[in-house]
């Protein structure tokens, strides 16, 4: 690799073995992230976004979850091959995660400050007092007065809790940050505050970021590259400009068309007919084929490999239009 990739995911497959059958959550995902870059992972519920992030950190519940194939390399190191002890040194230190729900991501019986200090003390091998001092600085960095250090999570509002979770994630200055729908539980004015904060901190600390979201507005604002995920597969992958100005996959176009636009007056939204396929019984070929207007029998035959339509812009479709759609 000529490029300085901090993370490389190759052909990742993850399954959940449940009583009802095998759920195929991630099916052959390959992604890479350049140092300092922000990658948006977009898709609907059940697309496998969170499973991808959790398999990077190796925090999937095993069993039922199982990585059946594929490698994840972080700074050249195969995360599948290192020991749990080594993984623990990376977790929260080099790779950190912001969880979706700030209400349940914090421990209610410890003070917010001590939860930030915990990681600092563990990973940076400093004294308790020093860790507490740095945790206080982190609180201030995310815009919470240091006096709130000894408060418990229930004394914080939703926006403040999410800021505290961000402070925990950034406390050890990670190289890679995984943000799983960090603003979904928040109101829009608070979301704007949190996004602004994440942008500032990312630029200041040079953190590489994977932003998991279902909101294309957030992608437009914060990401450099975008992967559109459907039923555990990457449908389209490219720069933000590729996706917003030249999108070629029928699913990506369908998603954009489903969104009510603020700058247009539409009488009816163009919808994608049908539902997501059952992950226990995925179609053999393209997972989107049953809902796709252009689908033919050819689409059902087997896995469709991504094609590079323009440099860096990959589309997994047999019938890629000559010209893309612009939002």
């Amino acid at each position: 690799m000529a490029k300085d990739n901090i993370l490389e995911i190759e052909n990742l497959y993850v399954e959940y073995d449940t009583d009802d059958g095998v759920v195929k959550a991630v099916n052959g995902v390959s992604l890479s992230l350049e140092r300092g870059e922000t990658l948006g992972l977009v898709g609907e519920t059940g697309a496998g976004k969170t499973t991808i992030a959790r398999s990077i950190l190796r925090i999937l519940p095993v069993p039922p979850a199982k990585v059946t194939q594929g490698t994840i390399r972080f700074e050249g190191q195969d995360l599948g091959k290192i020991s749990e002890a080594e993984m623990r040194k990376l977790r929260g230190h080099k790779i950190a995660m912001i969880f979706q729900d700030p209400m349940s991501a914090l421990n209610p019986v410890y003070t917010v400050g001590s939860q930030i200090a915990e990681g600092i003390e563990l990973h940076q091998k400093v004294s308790k007092a020093e860790a507490a001092k740095r945790a206080g600085e982190m609180l201030e960095m995310v815009g919470i007065p240091r006096e709130r250090y000894t408060d418990y999570p229930n004394q914080f509002s939703g926006g403040m809790k999410q800021r505290a979770v961000i402070a925990i994630a950034l406390a050890c200055n990670p190289d890679l940050l995984l943000a799983d729908e960090p603003t979904t539980a928040l109101d829009v004015t608070i979301q704007a505050q949190v996004l602004e904060l994440m942008e500032q901190l990312r630029d200041k600390l040079g953190t590489s970021l994977i932003m998991i979201t279902h909101d294309f507005g957030i992608v437009a604002r914060i990401c450099d590259r975008v992967a559109v995920v459907y039923a555990g597969q990457v449908m389209e992958y490219g720069s933000k400009k590729d996706i917003f100005k030249d999108c070629r996959h029928p699913y990506t176009m369908g998603l954009f068309n489903s969104l009510p636009k603020l700058d247009k007056n539409e009488k009816r939204l163009k919808t994608i007919p049908g539902l997501m396929p059952n992950p226990m019984d995925l179609p053999k070929g393209c997972p989107f084929a049953p809902r796709c207007q252009n689908a033919t029998e050819e689409c059902m035959k087997g896995r469709i490999e991504p094609k590079e339509v323009t440099p860096g812009h990959f589309v997994s479709c047999l019938y890629i239009p000559e010209r893309g759609m612009s939002v």
């Binding site: 004015t189 704007a192 507005g217 009510p260 603020l262 539409e266 994608i272 539902l275």
Partner: protein, 322 residues
């Protein structure tokens, strides 16, 4: 609302509606002096952030919650004063679609049974008539007939929300309060459900109050929009006007906080500082003043909700009339 409707009687008129809750810390002003009119076949969007009283407003309007004071006229009759018998009729005419299709359905009832309930209770239907009507409702909302005997947990969110819609429209209501009906759904399913709601509105001349926190959804579906902040309506005007010419500083901040799909435009985000203050024992002045960059001493006085241009109402002393 356009002028053509000015002579009509509104289907619903709410006057100075208040709903207070007594909590240990004092009196929580969930809905505080809200007035509006809705005309038949129209949609009033109610937007605001969590805790602003949108859902309480919806529930109080339907008399699911007893109001503290104020009047609610439905087709000219004050429904806060009806007796039990009349309330059954009101329930038939005014229905509710709940936010969460996961917890608003009885897990022990099949799709067929869930849709049959309101038909039995409010219209007294039974036997083959009931069965036919349930099937007809399932067809109307796009639920396959084979799902008749399935349970809610077997279905996805979009289908569950369709059950909620079928239940609401089964008794031929004239008016429906929709409380965040699509916020639990994915975008591709959300678009299907929004289109269905518009189709039903056109076919049956339904009137909606549509409660949501999503500004692009509210613009798509509403004729008029009320913006709420801590229990009060701070701005009300036709949908297009609100997006073209927002006057209240809170509305402006709310609109600028939406992440847009446009990747070229360097949007200057107006980041609102601070967070919602408490609606418990609020002070008499403007409740947004503590976060407002234009706030002056005059904002400590009660704000008048006044019409500054045709059909455009705003509660802010800083806004000058045109």
């Amino acid at each position: 609302m356009s002028q053509t409707n000015q002579n009509e009687t509104p289907i619903l008129e709410v006057q100075n509606l208040k709903k207070y809750f007594n909590v240990s810390a004092g009196t929580l002003h969930a809905v505080d002096d809200v007035s509006f009119k809705i005309y038949k076949g129209k949609t009033l969007g109610v937007v605001g952030e969590s805790g602003c009283g949108k859902s309480t407003l919806g529930r109080t309007v339907l008399h699911l919650l007893e109001s503290t004071s104020g009047k609610i006229f439905f087709e000219g009759k004050d429904i806060t004063k009806v007796n039990r018998h009349e309330l059954t009729q009101v329930r038939r005419d005014m229905q509710f679609i709940f936010q969460d299709p996961f917890s608003s359905l009885n897990p022990r009832k099949t799709v067929g049974e869930a849709i049959a309930d309101p038909l039995m209770l409010l219209k007294g239907e039974k036997g083959s008539q009931l069965f036919e009507d349930v099937i007809r409702m399932m067809d109307t909302v796009g639920l396959a007939r084979r799902l008749y005997n399935t349970y809610p947990h077997e279905l996805d969110g979009g289908r569950r929300q369709r059950i909620g819609i079928a239940r609401a429209i089964s008794v031929n209501p004239k008016f429906i309060v929709c409380d965040e009906p699509v916020s639990a759904l994915d975008v591709s399913i959300q678009a299907q459900v929004l289109n269905l709601m518009l189709d039903l509105q056109e076919a049956n001349d339904l009137t909606y109050i549509f409660i949501t926190h999503d500004m692009s959804v509210v613009k798509y579906i509403s004729d008029d929009i009320c913006v709420m902040y801590l229990g009060q309506v701070v701005e009300k005007c036709p949908s297009d006007e609100l997006f073209a010419n927002p006057l209240h500083p809170y509305t402006q901040a709310l609109l600028s906080a939406i992440p847009l799909l446009d990747i070229d435009q360097e949007v200057k985000h107006e980041i609102l500082q601070g967070e919602l203050t408490s609606p418990i024992n609020p002070k008499p002045g403007c409740r947004f003043a503590s976060r407002c960059k234009y706030a002056t001493a005059k904002c400590k006085e009660p704000q008048e909700f006044r019409e500054v241009s045709d059909g455009h109402f705003v509660a802010c002393c800083g806004v000058t009339g045109q």
